[in-house]
Symmetry: C2
């Protein structure tokens, strides 16, 4: 599984450097999280203190190009990265307006809409859906404020 990223790099004639391995390891250890380049940089520095942030940006772009990593914007003025789990139709993200948590939503439910559009002549290759509101914890607190 971790070996396979090694293979993908070799197959595309990219070198397997300690920096690239360290960045892949951080991403692998934080599945389900959505980290910024700087957050990944700070994680990687723990094991590779000499690494430069330019290498982190370059490596992330490479991994995005190789479709190993998915790059998202949640409109915060910077990007977040996570392992690409291999679905062309990627999972959705729920963002809590109160606590800021990002929760992944695996259900698709867009097939119907995409079907309508394809009947209309579109070809849909991907989608990006963000849902906003209150996560269950914040929603519960809002309904029962006395339990705070």
């Amino acid at each position: 599984m971790f070996e396979s990223y090694h293979q993908i790099l070799k197959r595309n004639r990219y070198k397997v450097t300690p920096q690239r391995k360290a960045i892949l390891e951080v991403l692998d250890n934080t599945r389900g999280m959505h980290f910024t380049a700087e957050e990944i940089y700070n994680q990687v520095k723990k094991t590779n203190p000499q690494i430069g942030i330019a290498t982190v940006y370059r490596t992330l772009e490479l991994l995005v190009r190789l479709e190993i990593v998915y790059k998202s914007s949640f409109d915060e003025g910077r990007h977040r990265y996570e392992f690409y789990e291999g679905d062309r139709h990627f999972h959705h993200h729920f963002l809590c307006n109160k606590c800021g948590v990002i929760i992944e939503v695996e259900e698709d439910y867009l097939c119907q809409l995409e079907g309508v559009l394809e009947e209309r002549g579109f070809m849909i290759s991907n989608h990006n859906l963000r849902l906003y509101g209150l996560c269950p914890a914040c929603h519960r607190k809002e309904k029962h404020p006395e339990t705070r």
Copy 2:
């Protein structure tokens, strides 16, 4: 209709300046379009050559705060603005991978997904969906390249 924006500004004790009127007018004349701050700046300069781009940014932020204007990111490294048509559940956007056109999609089709999440304890207040692929024109050309 244009009067109402005047009213909204006054009601919230903001001054109705020529710059704000000019920016609202540009947005009003380009409904269905999705312009960047700079594009709006260039439009407004035609009637108000003295305007500064800082005023455009400030006014757009104000209008977003007043929920008159909606601000979107299409991951191009800058934002785009359009009149908020008053729906809390905003229309979707289709982006053509080939010609770059942005087409609005009015159909919702997210109620089912949002219902599932609300059963799970979430409260969904808004969503943001971007669809990617080929617009009908580009899709047709791809299927019949000889007609180019």
